[in-house]
Amino acid sequence: MTTLDQPAARPEARGAPPEKGRRLPRPRRRRDRALFWFLLPGIAVLLLFQYVPLLGNVIAFQDYQPFIGIMHSRWSGLDNFSVLFDGDQQFLHALVNTLELTLIQVVFVFPAPILLALALNSLVSERIKKWVQNVLYLPHFLSWVVVVSLFQQMLGNDGLLNLFLRAHEMGSWNIIGNPDLFKALLTSQVIWKDTGWGTILFLAALSRVDNDLYEAAAADGASRLRQTWHVTLPALRGLVVLLLILRLGDALSVGFEQILLQQNGVGLDSSQVLDTYVYNNGLVGGQWGVSAAVGLVKGVVGVVLVLGANKVAHLFGEEGVYRS
């Protein structure tokens, strides 16, 4: 994960006499030893709430009963994992919905900030641009509960939109609680919440594009669209690949809180995803072992996806998330 080290640090590391490997000269190691004490609280918290809980995954191999506890529950081998393969309807629904949502969101949510960034980038007035940015970033900082509430108040049966439609005798439009529209609703919520925020990275990348390239392109008679196609978009390629990798690594997690909040109205068939499956079956339904097994497999596949996507990025000559 060396690329995550800041560049400023590297000259320093290099400034040390280049001994074998990365060993630093002894005095410095001793001198910086006091720094270790600063790590202790962090180590304690990370161990206790990130690493020790991983041990809890053993219940995936148990017939876990909360009242007996992990120590005394019966071991059941791989029984819990059979739900993954035996065509369990609920699980299949969850899997299919998850993948569908990922696909929809990569197609519709992912390009949105790029388009918005392109529109913002060539705005003439810097002041208007700043103002628009500040407004569009705001939804990112709202919780999903707030966003879902706002959508219900606006689009719900008695919401603003339907009040307006009824007042003008145009009937009403059942959006919230309509299983057929559920995925569209989720997608529009994600777009509303995070498109503005997503432009930050793209705008930064755009501001680094060498202006001479545009002038050269214009001198060669490139139209605006062609300039966008041949100069602007190539400048964004590395970033797009990076973000796509990150998104792919998250392919099995789609808006857990967001969906959990809205499941009541639309029923599980159209709204169950892997994360809500684990929650609903395990913590609510009491099938601890099976849910833990699904959660465990999901986590492992997620890690494999990130590592794999990173590898693929390297093959295409992009930098990816990290390089070892």
Binding site: P41, F49, Y51, A119, W144, L150, V209
Partner: protein
């Protein structure tokens, strides 16, 4: 003519040449109009819900009832809904819980993260590599819902406010951002302090922290936003409605549309309970206001923070 004389030059804002902004060969007017329209629509779509909610929470009950729910602009402003919610009862308590958890959590998170980031700020120090690895790995996988729940249960933290703080206390991304700020502080300053006999702790407090005040503050705000917005941990770990934070109240009474009864709101003696849409809108406003209040501070610095953390190199 005097106004045009050289001694009184007409103040004119220097016109920005188009080429100053990258990619800026002027588009054709219809193209520019289309883009402006797109941005205008986006801004309206973001702001309109806030306007409707704020207006509804402030509007007079008669107007709300006449409209059948939401109003876009209040004829008469009344604070009845807020008074009903904030004079004791569930919502007042939830506000206190949320504020308390946010303040305590942010303090602990910031202390822990600054300490960790400083400890990791000099490559080659004892434990640097494994601990950095340990931190970065948490970005790759999380323990998962069920193991996390079992851990909190084993620690007997169910229904304790600590369950809302401890599991999310360290955010690896925030620590990495802080660390990279600390690493950019000139080495000479630190060395000079050390020669003067300063301990690591006083170097951190007297040199490193004052130099990175702004970034530490932004990270603090990011933590605060996370704590204020946290909903799922409360759903998992807090069963007692008296201990609910704001987000749980919002979920129960606005998202799930449970009726707000006399147990939840205290109408002033004799006054009727405000209409449900107003109460719901007021709850929404109350849970958004803190975010909006700190937003100006956030947005002043957030570009920087995000860039340092997210874009390598």
């Amino acid at each position: 003519m005097t106004t045009l004389s050289p001694s009184h030059p007409v103040r004119r804002r220097p016109r920005r040449s188009y080429s100053a902004v990258p990619g800026e060969t002027p588009g054709s007017p219809p193209w520019r109009a289309a883009k402006s329209l797109l941005l205008l629509v986006c801004v309206v779509l973001v702001l309109l819900p806030f306007l409707a909610i704020l207006s509804t929470s402030l509007a007079h009950p008669d107007q709300v009832n006449r409209a059948g729910g939401y109003v876009l602009w209040p004829d008469h402003v009344t604070l009845a809904a807020y008074r009903a919610l904030l004079s004791g009862g569930l919502v007042s308590r939830a506000m206190l819980v949320s504020v308390g958890v946010t303040v305590v959590g942010t303090g602990l998170s910031l202390g822990c993260s600054v300490s960790l980031a400083y400890g990791l700020s000099r490559p080659g120090s004892l434990g640097h590599k494994p601990v950095l690895m340990m931190l970065l790995m948490t970005m790759l996988f999380a323990p998962g819902v069920i193991p996390g729940y079992l851990m909190i249960k084993e620690l007997h933290l169910i229904n304790s406010y600590w369950s809302l703080i401890l599991p999310t206390m360290i955010n690896a991304f925030n620590v990495i951002v802080l660390r990279s700020f600390f690493m950019n502080i000139p080495r000479e300053l630190v060395d000079a302090a050390r020669i003067d006999g300063a301990s690591e702790l006083s170097i951190l407090c007297r040199i490193v922290l004052p130099l990175s005040k702004a970034s530490v503050a932004v990270i603090g705000l990011f933590y605060a936003v996370t704590y204020w917005n946290a909903f799922f941990n409360a759903l998992l770990y807090i069963n007692d409605a008296a201990k609910w934070p704001m987000q749980m109240v919002l979920r129960t009474y606005v998202v799930n549309n449970s009726a707000l009864g006399a147990g939840q709101v205290n109408a002033a003696a004799g006054a009727p309970i405000p209409p449900a849409p107003s109460l719901q809108a007021a709850i929404l406003v109350l849970s958004v206001v803190p975010i909006v209040l700190i937003y100006p501070f956030l947005q002043r610095h957030m570009n920087k923070g995000v860039m340092v953390g997210a874009v390598k190199g």
